[in-house]
């Protein structure tokens, strides 16, 4: 398919999804230098929040080094061209957080729900629209729902006022054919002026391929992170995606060399561990498990002697969804007790 001349918006995840592998402990200096680098490279939209969105600061997901307010108010004034977005998961964050983000100058709010539960986003999407924010409905774990279900949920969010809908592969489980089928079906069902977006995880090394497949069926916003810094095996690596787009003639407005330098010089050095497809992140993709469960499962392995892979497979079998990080320790405890380890 010839995509030459197609314009898309790349949306950077390094400072939000990238908070997961950093256990939400990114320093303000790291945020500043990476955000400035992304801005100079021409990335038009950058997400800055706790990995689990506004209000994610908790025992369950991890306490961040700084509050959302501190991160946002540090980064926003430095931006020359890039706009800043924030993520909000109803049930974790509230409209109060949304108001705070808006007051600090956040341009885009992304309201995320499990892919079958879009109706919990009504009060947040409506409120963001009233504030005339760029408002995105974000359907997580989309591999778990049929194209028809995704259409019904996307339409709910569109009806509340979202001007862009994301089909999100939170588990990095989808293959390019699934991406085309699901996003294509949703694209046909939405109003022409409603944008469509894709957020990938690289657990099966499909981040770039899936994102290109999404563009082929009409997605105009693509999430990616410099050096892939994100949950699981990371997000779609931004520098690779931008380079592939340049080769295919897809216009991202991002400078190929500069984004490579951000990844190499600013992001790789701050990694606590290599972001790669190891047996555990591969299991996330294989079993369709929420990518941010990875480090929790590895910690439970150390503490309870049950392999992270087994824990993740069990969580997949039990149909756990995003946000149920508490069930990782619970599952490890139950398995350990059954085996007489505790």
């Amino acid at each position: 398919m010839n995509l030459r001349g197609k314009k898309i918006t790349v949306h950077d995840m390094t400072l939000r999804d990238g908070m997961h592998p950093k256990r939400h402990l990114m320093t303000l200096e790291q945020m500043k230098s990476i955000a400035t680098g992304l801005d100079e490279a021409g990335v038009p939209l950058i997400e800055v929040t706790h990995g689990d969105g506004l209000g994610g600061s908790s025992v369950n997901y991890g306490f961040p080094a700084h509050s959302d307010e501190e991160y946002l108010s540090t980064v926003i004034p430095l931006m020359k061209q890039a706009k800043i977005s924030a993520l909000l998961l109803p049930g974790i964050g509230t409209v109060d957080h949304l108001k705070m983000a808006h007051e600090l100058g956040v341009n885009t709010i992304r309201v995320a729900t499990h892919c079958t539960e879009a109706d919990v986003s009504e009060q947040h999407i409506k409120f963001a629209r009233k504030l005339e924010m760029d408002t995105v409905g974000f359907l997580m774990m989309s591999h778990m729902a049929s194209p028809e279900m995704l259409v019904s949920q996307a339409r709910l969010m569109e009806g509340y006022g979202a001007n862009c809908i994301y089909v999100t592969d939170s588990a990095g489980h989808m293959l390019p054919a699934d991406v085309k089928l699901k996003l294509g079906t949703v694209r046909d069902a939405l109003k022409p002026e409603t944008e469509l977006g894709f957020h990938g995880h690289h657990n099966l090394a499909m981040g770039v391929a899936n994102s290109i497949a999404a563009v082929e069926v009409g997605a105009t916003r693509i999430d990616a992170a410099a050096a892939g810094l994100g949950a699981g095996a990371g997000n779609t690596p931004m520098e690779v995606f931008v380079t592939v787009c340049a080769m295919m003639g897809i216009e991202t407005g991002v400078d190929v060399a500069k984004i490579q330098d951000v990844a190499e010089d600013l992001v790789v050095p701050i990694m606590d561990h290599p972001i790669r497809v190891d047996r555990d992140s591969l299991t996330l993709g294989y079993a369709g498990v929420y990518s941010s469960f990875l480090l929790f499962a590895k910690r439970a392995e150390k503490k309870y002697g049950i392999s992270a892979r087994e824990i993740l497979l069990e969580l997949g079998r039990r149909g756990m969804v995003g946000g149920q990080e508490d069930m990782i320790e619970d599952t490890a405890l139950t398995l350990a007790r059954e085996r007489g380890l505790i």
Binding site: S58, V59, N60, P90, G91, I92, T94, V95, D96, H114, T116, E117, D119, V120, E122, Q123, H124, M144, R318, G319, M320, V321, G322, G323, Q324, E325, D326, M327, E329, D330, L333, T334, R337
Partner: protein, 300 residues
Amino acid sequence: MTQKIKCALIGPGNIGTDLLYKLQRSPVLEPVWMVGIDPTSEGLKRAQDMGLKITADGVDGLLPHVKADNIQIAFDATSAYVHAENSRKLNELGVLMIDLTPAAIGPFCVPPVNLVQHVGQGEMNVNMVTCGGQATIPMVAAISRVQPVEYGEIVATISSKSAGPGTRKNIDEFTRTTSGAIEKVGGAKRGKAIIIINPAEPPLIMRDTVHCLVEGEPKQQEIIDSVHAMVAEVQKYVPGYRLVNGPVFDGNRVSVFLEVKGLGDFLPTYAGNLDIMTAAAARTAEMFAEEILKGTLTLQ
């Protein structure tokens, strides 16, 4: 024959109907009226078949009968938005309100923690917090009665099928009301509440996790004993309340992993979140009814 206190239920939905089943078994409460707003509602018809008087004109349809039928306690299972009006109108007639909405006009009531404190306070409206609050605040309290809790956090996971339109439309109310009650009733200095809706089939039984950060080293044995004692208290009115794992100690963190299985009265057993609300409301009303019958409480 023992005398019973006559009650009205407002809202013939899932919660109202399940509550009706529980009230019919009560030795001290007698459900007399079911109040709805839709004459074609199945819930109203069901209540009528069960022998209740019904009205589809909302609380205004009930008001003229309050005196004649000697209604002394009303349960509101509608929404936070209409609760204030319902409560005002019925309080004027001397009816005590048990609020199952997140309106929280009156003080929070979590039976095993603070029910007895409400005795003799002359309150005309008590609020049942939220399902997640009823399931978790007893555990926060069980820990905070051993040693100070600087931070209490709860994660409630409910099945998609048991999350009604009211909860979905106003999910922020859940987080706000629950976190407030973790502090006010649970005794944590700061509270946070998280709710997750899971669509798995067959529906998952309600799960609740309580994380507390205590001041100083956790007094492990005392906390374990206190948690077990509190589980037993809750089991008195919610037999399917179960400690799955924990208490787990990790530095100053104490975590407790719970499951709440309902009785399956009207709602299926997986909907422990709804069952614990109706069971707590019924238990609260029974305590007030016992006080009225003993003559130690007069409503006015």
